[in-house]
Symmetry: C2
């Protein structure tokens, strides 16, 4: 990260801002960064809920909860990265709204997303006196959301929970739609449940504290949403990307809630039509993920982040979309430009073996009962499920990924 | 168990039957034990299913499955007690019906009902090539049903499953209603899910191979069902109990399916009204369980079986029902006689400390958010949820349990 030391002279001579973002935030706190408070509704019958996207909303989780008439005590689950930054705000807000709460912190990172952490957390919740009348608040990124969501799905056979996502990926993707899971040695997300949250509260200000690589990673899913359903939103995403390194301007911070909410609505509409991923519609969200997952499973853990392999997978899927679904060249180029401007990888690292990737892709295909389903784009905003993609097509696409873009 | 060696002279001189039951079964195989094939329907909207109760139905599980149009491959989960007796029949029936199947056996006993067994089984299923299009067959008693059901609820975020209960307890109680769970160190059944089976196939012939103590134990839940909703069925239960030690007659074996199905229907009707135990109705099934659970948690594991503590808990609940709900003395006596004739315990072992039991009862009350709910009977077949039972009432009832009945 660049560290632009911005000295503010005048009335508060001692305040130094290390980044443009911090400067903008400080100005924003005086001037109001919270003009936009969009919310996205998920209409799922008895399981319907709202996603509130507002700057500074972390402190208002308790308030939002009491508006949904949630009762009982709160068990806040967070991790060692996020809790030090935001747990105090969330707990204070819960307290203000009259909710007794306990806080439970897990080690940050994917390695916590396992079945024994679920067991440990369940034991902690029992010790803290939580029963079937309590609810869970998942405060953190995708790992915390998936894990705390699965705990909520199974503790006393299911208690309500609230998602408070703090990463880009969690805000626009994993916190919405009710998929919860843990990893087992045999594979990622193999044990889980569909369990919709009662409420999602996304605070875009939390994104300003993310390490740039993690911010970029999450934007891969934003580009995916844009490509499958909101082509025009690719441009604001590119603008946003420009500021990841130099820090966010006040204008950008003020626009973030609308950009995030608009992006969330893409997933929300697909989830509404296909809550349990049985009708094929929700599968559109797998654009870029078939080959992406294959790559993810082929490299040592942590070498490539999930969003980074999705970026590679999208490049492959765009190529296959041109071949099999009539995607126009300028549409392919537009998405590739967006990914490039965000700083996401488009070229497969030299050492990644295409055969290994293909083996993992083949194993992943079993995921859908052996039926070959590949998400392609006929045009930007027009995804289709295709069975036209052959193994040799995928090998060709992997070859392409080896060449610079 | 009595071992009546019954020699059958004449045409098949080498066949010896060790028990009356075996003799009756052999005669039955020639004469037809399967006159009655009752089934109980659970009407739960999209989640509706049938419970088929028929002698010899273990070999027809595949057939029943194809009638429900179940697709995919089967993962049969069983334990080291049940698999050697029945897995071959079930697998052959699945094969006849065109289902590919794998078999996965866990060590028999409550200690297998934990979260790491779920993880191990999930890994085995992945290895056997099962994905979200497969289904699970739970073949065994309550432990197998609860565990395999929870695996089905969470494997790939939920796949269908079928209950094939082989103990009295599992047939009349745990296989029906969709409660699945595992134990954690902090408590029994604390991590679980509501996941209804697609089908239940109960073969009463399997009950003839149970150790007598396990058969008696299961009958405690049958008496409970009778007491809360089918008073008249107490008499056939007593008759049935008479034969546990001496072996079952052909007549009894022929009547078993109807007795079992009638008993299942008590639970089925309550589950239909209150699937997720949120309306209080399903809680009637907890008759005898509040103090029963307290006793269960106060003795070393295995000293008293679940049905045995439920028997003790029912004696306490009957006493409290007379005190607070106007239960008539002759009704109390009738249920106590049934429990006694079955050979279930009615007196608390000397060494059990009433204070320890009270502590566990108090902890268990938290289960319902601190609201004191005690199931009492106004009359046989007329349960009520009462908040009239005080701590000192419960102490008094425990005192009573120390005295002979």
């Amino acid at each position: 990260m660049h560290t632009n030391i911005v000295k503010v002279f005048g009335k508060r001579p001692r305040v130094r801002f290390r980044t443009r973002t911090q400067y903008a935030l400080a100005r924003a706190r005086r001037g109001g960064y919270n003009a936009a408070m969009p919310s996205v509704s998920l209409s799922l019958g008895e399981k319907s809920y709202e996603v509130h996207v507002a700057n500074g909303s972390l402190k208002s989780v308790g308030d939002f909860l009491s508006r949904t008439r949630m009762g009982g005590r709160a068990a806040v689950i967070s991790d060692t990265n996020v809790a030090p930054l935001y747990a105090a705000s969330v707990l204070a807000g819960l307290d203000d709204a009259g909710y007794a709460a306990s806080i439970h912190t897990i080690p940050a990172g994917e390695q916590s997303k396992n079945i024994s952490t679920v067991e440990q957390l369940a034991a902690e919740l029992v010790k803290a006196g939580h029963d079937r009348t309590s609810f869970i608040v998942a405060l953190g990124g995708g790992v915390v959301g998936d894990l705390a969501g699965f705990l909520a799905a199974t503790y006393y056979r299911g208690i309500p929970f609230v998602q408070v996502p703090t990463s880009v990926m969690a805000q626009v993707d994993s916190s919405v739609g009710g998929k919860t899971a843990v990893n087992i040695a045999a594979g990622k997300n193999l044990v889980g449940a569909f369990h919709q949250p009662r409420l999602v509260v996304a605070d875009p200000l939390a994104l300003t504290t993310l390490p740039p690589r993690v911010g970029r990673e999450g934007m891969a899913e934003m580009v995916k949403h844009a490509a499958i359903a909101r082509p025009k939103s690719l441009f604001p995403l590119m603008q946003l990307a420009d500021e990841i390194d130099i820090g966010f301007s006040l204008t950008t911070i003020q626009r973030l809630p609308e950009i995030i909410a608009d992006n969330i609505s893409v997933k929300a509409r697909l989830v509404e039509q296909d809550e349990l991923e049985t009708r094929g519609v929700r599968a559109f969200l797998n654009f870029g993920h078939t080959i992406g997952h294959g790559i993810e499973a082929s490299v040592p853990y942590g070498e490539l982040l999930h969003g980074e392999v999705v970026s590679l997978g999208m490049r492959a899927a765009l190529h296959l979309s041109r071949k099999h679904a009539g995607l126009a060249e300028q549409d392919e180029r537009l998405v590739l430009n967006a990914l490039r401007s965000i700083g996401l990888p488009l070229t497969l690292p030299e050492h990644v073996d295409a055969e290994t990737v293909m083996e993992h892709v083949a194993a992943d295909k079993k995921f859908c009962g052996g039926a070959p389903r590949f998400v392609l784009l006929e045009a930007l905003g027009r995804p289709v499920l295709s069975d036209a993609v052959t193994e040799s097509d995928m090998r060709e696409a992997l070859e392409l990924l080896k060449s610079p873009c």
